[in-house]
């Protein structure tokens, strides 16, 4: 059962991701990306990580893609201009294949070592994903959590200052 869902959703993730690249219309492209995020969220669910799944939907499919589509609409990009096949594209395809082969080598050639960390499926099934996650977040990872808040503050301050019109 899980394997079937995994195969279907994994396949759909790949297909929709490809459609993101190949869709000619920018809005369609963005919508395929939303779809791909959705299927990815299902994959997270299969890993018992429901919190990450819903964050994937709220943050990526919801907020970030909403901003992207908003920007596309503001710029009124309807149809991408058809550019001829350029050298850069060939280079891109070659680089892509090399990276893909590299991944294959890493994944298949030596085999993943499958080392289990402290957070296992059993633990999450027992206490629920959120309890386990929050427990780690506020104990072992409290300092990175705080540092992340500094990072986000810096990001917000930076975004505001760059976007601010000349008010002086």
């Amino acid at each position: 059962m899980e394997l079937i869902i995994l195969l279907i959703c994994g396949g759909l993730t790949i297909i929709t991701s490809l459609l993101v690249i190949f869709a000619r219309n920018t809005v369609h492209s963005a919508l395929w990306m939303v779809a791909s995020f959705f299927f990815m969220a299902v994959l997270y669910l299969l890993l018992q990580a429901e919190f990450i799944a819903i964050l994937q939907i709220i943050v990526y499919a919801g907020a970030i893609m909403m901003f992207i589509i908003y920007a596309i609409m503001m710029l009124n990009l309807r149809q991408e201009e058809r550019a001829p096949m350029r050298k850069t594209k060939v280079v891109g395809v070659v680089a892509l294949l090399v990276l893909f082969l590299e991944l294959l080598v890493v994944a298949v050639g030596r085999g993943l070592l499958a080392i289990k960390g402290p957070v296992t499926d059993q633990l999450m099934a027992k206490f629920g994903h959120i309890a386990v996650l929050s427990n780690f977040l506020f104990s072992d990872y409290v300092l990175p959590f705080e540092l992340a808040s500094i990072l986000l503050t810096a990001g917000v301050v930076g975004a505001v200052i760059l976007a601010k019109q000349k008010s002086e």
Partner: protein, 328 residues
């Protein structure tokens, strides 16, 4: 196993039917209440005091001519209402209508799913729902539609944050994200007493999220000729319409669940209390629509970012301090 699935399917069907019925009759409530506020009767012809009007409207929706504008983006144009209604109905899944009841020896909880992430699910899916309006406006290739769509998305982004902040403080006092857990936590004292500011914020942001007056920017009739759904007709328009009322129902149910103690109440059985409270909120939504004028667009943005967002943060801070001092 079979029994489990049977119960699940029956429950799904019942929940679906009930919410559709509520959606249909919310439109009736809206028209009647608006009518009476404005010293007129509202619909009177079909059925007793217009009681069958929603059904007549539905039938009418099916038989009207389907129009797709020439320069519309067809797939997206078709998809938009589906996203809108799909997301709205999905939300019904997590609403806890009542506690566990025993029917014919089976213990049946009166909710479809008690998710660990319940409230986040609501926030997430309602975000997706607002894609409907945005895409509908854009794909129709009408400038009013596009402006409506842009307004919808901007408003959604601005009000989602304070709404989430209001929810966070509720989660803080409840200690759980599960909606059932949040209701059970209010057995003694309702959250509206514990979290008055959050209640206030949630109501305001909720009205903005479901595009009700005074925040109905995306479909401001006077300026945008109906906004994002200007080019929609027949059933597709009806789907948008239904999605809007379904969202209103879910919003009312969420206020009930998060702040008004869900199914708890004296004497009457749980689900009855739940619906009484929910309909009170729905009535409130209609009432305020007939009383408040619409905000100007920049005022909407300013309110969201400069007032509600800091207020939400302040509320979290106060809640945290409260919990620290009284060691809850």
């Amino acid at each position: 196993m079979i029994e489990f699935w049977t119960i699940l399917i029956i429950k799904t069907l019942v929940a679906f039917a009930v919410s559709m019925l509520i959606v249909a009759y919310s439109t009736w409530i809206e028209r009647k209440v608006l009518g009476h506020v404005q010293l007129r009767y509202g619909p009177m012809r079909v059925g007793f005091h217009g009681l069958l009007q929603p059904i007549a409207d539905g039938v009418k929706g099916f038989f009207k001519e389907e129009l797709i504008p020439d320069n519309a983006d067809k797939p997206v144009f078709l998809l938009a209402p589906i996203i809108s209604i799909g997301a709205a109905i999905t939300l019904v899944v997590v609403i806890p209508f009542g506690d566990t009841v025993t029917i014919m020896g089976h213990k049946i909880p009166l909710y479809l799913a008690d998710l660990d992430i319940g409230i986040l699910f609501v926030l997430g899916i309602s975000t997706i729902g607002s894609y409907g309006g945005m895409l509908g406006g854009w794909s129709s290739g009408n400038k009013y539609g596009v402006i409506g769509g842009l307004r919808a998305s901007a408003q959604m982004i601005s009000y989602e944050l304070p709404m989430a902040l209001a929810v966070i403080s509720v989660v803080m006092v409840s200690g759980t994200l599960s909606l059932v857990g949040i209701v059970e936590n209010q057995a003694g004292l309702w959250n509206v007493v514990k979290q008055p500011l959050a209640f206030f914020l949630f109501i305001i942001c909720g009205l903005a999220e479901i595009n009700r007056t005074p925040f109905d920017m995306p479909e401001a009739e006077a300026e945008l000729a109906c906004g994002f759904n200007v080019e929609y007709s027949s059933m597709k328009f009806a789907l948008f319409f239904m999605a809007e009322y379904c969202h209103m129902f879910v919003f009312a149910a969420m206020v009930t669940t998060l702040f008004l103690g869900g199914w708890y109440g004296p004497l009457l059985p749980g689900p009855v209390w739940f619906f009484i409270k929910t309909f009170a909120i729905i009535f409130f939504c209609v009432w305020e629509r007939s009383t408040f004028p619409r905000y100007r667009y920049d005022q909407v943005m300013e309110l969201g970012w400069k007032v509600l967002l800091p207020a939400g943060l302040l509320n979290i801070l106060l809640t945290g301090l409260w919990m620290l001092v009284f060691n809850i």
